[in-house]
Symmetry: C2
Subunit: 338 residues, 2 copies
Amino acid sequence: MSKHCGRQSIRFENPIAIITSASTVGPKEGEGPLAEYFDTILPDSLCGEDSWEKAESKIVKDTFEAAIAKSKIPIENIDYVISGDLLNQNSGSTFAIRNFSIPFWGIFGACSTFGEGISLGAIMIDGGFANNILVGASSHFCASEKQFRFPLELGTQRTPTSTWTVTGQGSIILSNDIRENCPRITAITTGKVIDMGITDVNNMGAAMAPAAFDTIYNHFTDLAIGPEYYDLIITGDLGYVGHDLVLQMFGEKNIDLEKNYSDCGMLIFDKNSQGTNSGGSGCACSAVTFAGYLYKKLQQHQLNKILFVPTGALMSQISAQQGETIPGIAYAVAIENL
Amino acid sequence: MSKHCGRQSIRFENPIAIITSASTVGPKEGEGPLAEYFDTILPDSLCGEDSWEKAESKIVKDTFEAAIAKSKIPIENIDYVISGDLLNQNSGSTFAIRNFSIPFWGIFGACSTFGEGISLGAIMIDGGFANNILVGASSHFCASEKQFRFPLELGTQRTPTSTWTVTGQGSIILSNDIRENCPRITAITTGKVIDMGITDVNNMGAAMAPAAFDTIYNHFTDLAIGPEYYDLIITGDLGYVGHDLVLQMFGEKNIDLEKNYSDCGMLIFDKNSQGTNSGGSGCACSAVTFAGYLYKKLQQHQLNKILFVPTGALMSQISAQQGETIPGIAYAVAIENL
């Protein structure tokens, strides 16, 4: 039987298969280094809709439909959808799936949402509560800037530590139907909310790095393994600033993460040519990097064991305006070719 | 082994115990018909904080601490916290538990959040992934009005179909440690997102009623039972308007719900004296009615089998401003004395 290991982790007795993935990104992501790995690159950010929020819902709907079609699973055999996003009241997700007729779990983990969703889905399938679960997370640069920071039309200058919210959606289908060449979820480590007092909404990497460190460190402790167990340890959207902080925190524990640690926010944009400063961010940053790039690298056996750690900054526009600090969280998911 | 029944339901082989509950409400709720059942009635809505949002987080923190204290479970034995609220980016919950050091699942089901949280917690415990889980949901009248409708200072007139967001938080602890006189969770039915085209943000009851009907109807079908199985079927916050619509929809199916169907929004305020129009609403409406009133009625065996159905309207301020309709969802939880 699957069991809790230590305080925060679960090791699955019957590792859950990720049987398909689908990804959609915006035009800017489609000009980045991972372009060839995405299923759909949108020609513009509005997708024929009349608002960025509606565009995000359309991206969610279309990508979910693409994932279901690729899986060849009849929609009535998808037991649950688990989805979340950055928009107030999860509206990117809820408006997208209102016609799907699939029981729904709405979640919010800010940019860690994809990790939270995979973890919950894995629990449900391993526990025998479902056979097939659709999991996704989305974000939209324009909708996020409008909601969290400044109107885009202002052309506000971006600070060096700021990150660029990824436009897109990543979907996967988890299943107990073990198909050939499917990466499997072998363990999860669920994050705690950690707040180290960062207040700069233009430095999300620093706000989330302590949570990423805590989750990864406890993953190693709970499972009695070290970083060398994995081909790649990859956080969600810490960017260059947060990535360096995580390295530093592990360095203080005499754990060397230099060799195999990266961050989705560093991979998705080209630092030198795309003007994205510290890197990519947003729920979609880790979701599309996984559903596009990492999933395919696992299927091609260029990666065989990864620790995927989406990270979230749990602030709102109002909390920032009221001078609150920014709590962070991170969910670690171990994914392996068995 | 616990199994999926039909499309949307799970019957638990080892019904999960609800070993404790705690509830906090605001002054208005403390003047209502259920006042005697609440653990804490706040003297004012600010709780010593300087914003309504911070007040909500304080209420969440204090009520969670009260639930843990009442349970006598050491905090390190609480495996997870599951929590959500109405504030943008779940900030009522995340700021409350940042110092708890308990792995966290953030969820969003609007006013159905408490039902979603109980359902997820029950799955995790029944599946052997946790021993003790703290579940809660909160809302705050002032913070909600400010966020979703108009500044309170405007003194906007309220329509007859409008509901009054409950200020408060309800917490319960789910456990596999079956203590004496603890109600048990025997089954759940997970809602689908249903949108019947309602656009009036002052008529949440009508927006959510189709989802409540759908979930309850599928609960009966999946488990092959009728309404007579329960002493009480109680929705979350449909109020008088939504309650009547649910009765009408069941009437069209020749199913009589007249005898044993009520709504938390009808119980929490006095219709004639409190000026709450269609009734109470908000995540806290069902959460405090359960954690305060219903839990005690179950413990006293005045109720022995209830179907508790928190209901949510999945709109945001922006979706309403953009002319979108209001999707609804409902999660049914069967709770019984065994």
